[in-house]
Amino acid sequence: MTTPKATNVLAQLLAGTRIEELDCDTFSQFLPAWIEGRSPADLREALQQHLEMCPECEEERILLLEAVGNVSDDGPDAAPDS
């Protein structure tokens, strides 16, 4: 008999649970700075832990990295790269 998937998902969630965790809204506030390597040093561990616990925020991080790409930004009046 296979182990029900819900039980495995729950096991992984419980194993990674900490007393204090950042919620998704707080993580989202810091995501733009996070992908630029400019997030506050005292929050980086908590931000990383949130990514490990939240596959949706991890997916959002990956998509934002793709969206931003390597496009430079010199402001609204500069010639665009793309």
Partner: protein
């Protein structure tokens, strides 16, 4: 805040409508290009056009919230990506009823608690199943079972009318309680996994 960021903010709030509109058009064009890089495999051009325009409106409404922690265009793109991802997830799960998914997840936990031959796993599953059924609040129970059923948090939040942050806190509280209940019985989360004794 960089010089480029300051130019964006100045242009988007300019007293000159011509300058303001030109900056908004340029920002909209860049958001459209950004969404194309991430979502062209999953969303069509018409959807991306609409989403980038919706995102532009949202960014312009929230431009006063930009703090300069990142580039302005990264901050704006993050808003656009979140909106597009929300729409994508809503479509993926539109025909999946919450009640059916929650019931399926609850059944799986019940089965695990009764599984023969795996005493410690059955005991652990029994502990969490009982906690979920009797000790969690209704809000915690429904949210947790929805999460275990595979519904994305963004979709659970949308259906329940909560923010993702509020939902995450509900789930975090539920997880802490379940973990504490296991540890009180000398069990751990690992005991729930397939392959444990």
């Amino acid at each position: 805040m960089s010089a480029a960021d300051q130019r964006w903010l100045a242009a988007l709030s300019s007293a000159s409508a011509t300058e303001r509109d030109a900056a908004a058009r340029e920002l909209g064009r860049r958001l459209r290009a950004a969404l194309g890089r991430s979502f062209s495999r999953t969303l069509g051009d018409a959807d991306l056009d609409d989403l980038s325009q919706d995102a532009l409106v949202r960014v312009l409404e929230r431009v006063h919230e930009f703090r300069g922690d990142s580039r302005f265009t990264t901050w704006a793109t993050a808003i656009a990506v979140r909106m597009a991802l929300g729409e994508l997830r809503r479509r993926r799960y539109a025909d999946r009823r919450s009640e059916q998914l929650v019931h399926a997840a609850e059944q799986q936990l019940d089965l695990a608690a009764k599984a023969p031959g795996h005493i410690q796993r059955a005991e652990a599953a029994g502990v969490v199943h009982e906690m979920i059924t009797t000790a969690l609040t209704t809000t915690q129970r429904e949210a947790l079972l929805a999460e275990l059923s595979g519904l994305p948090l963004m979709e659970i939040a949308r259906r329940s009318g909560r923010s993702r942050g509020a939902l995450y806190k509900v789930l975090h509280d539920a997880r802490k309680r379940l973990r504490a209940a296991l540890e009180a019985k000398g069990l751990s989360a690992a005991d729930l996994l397939e392959g444990s004794a």
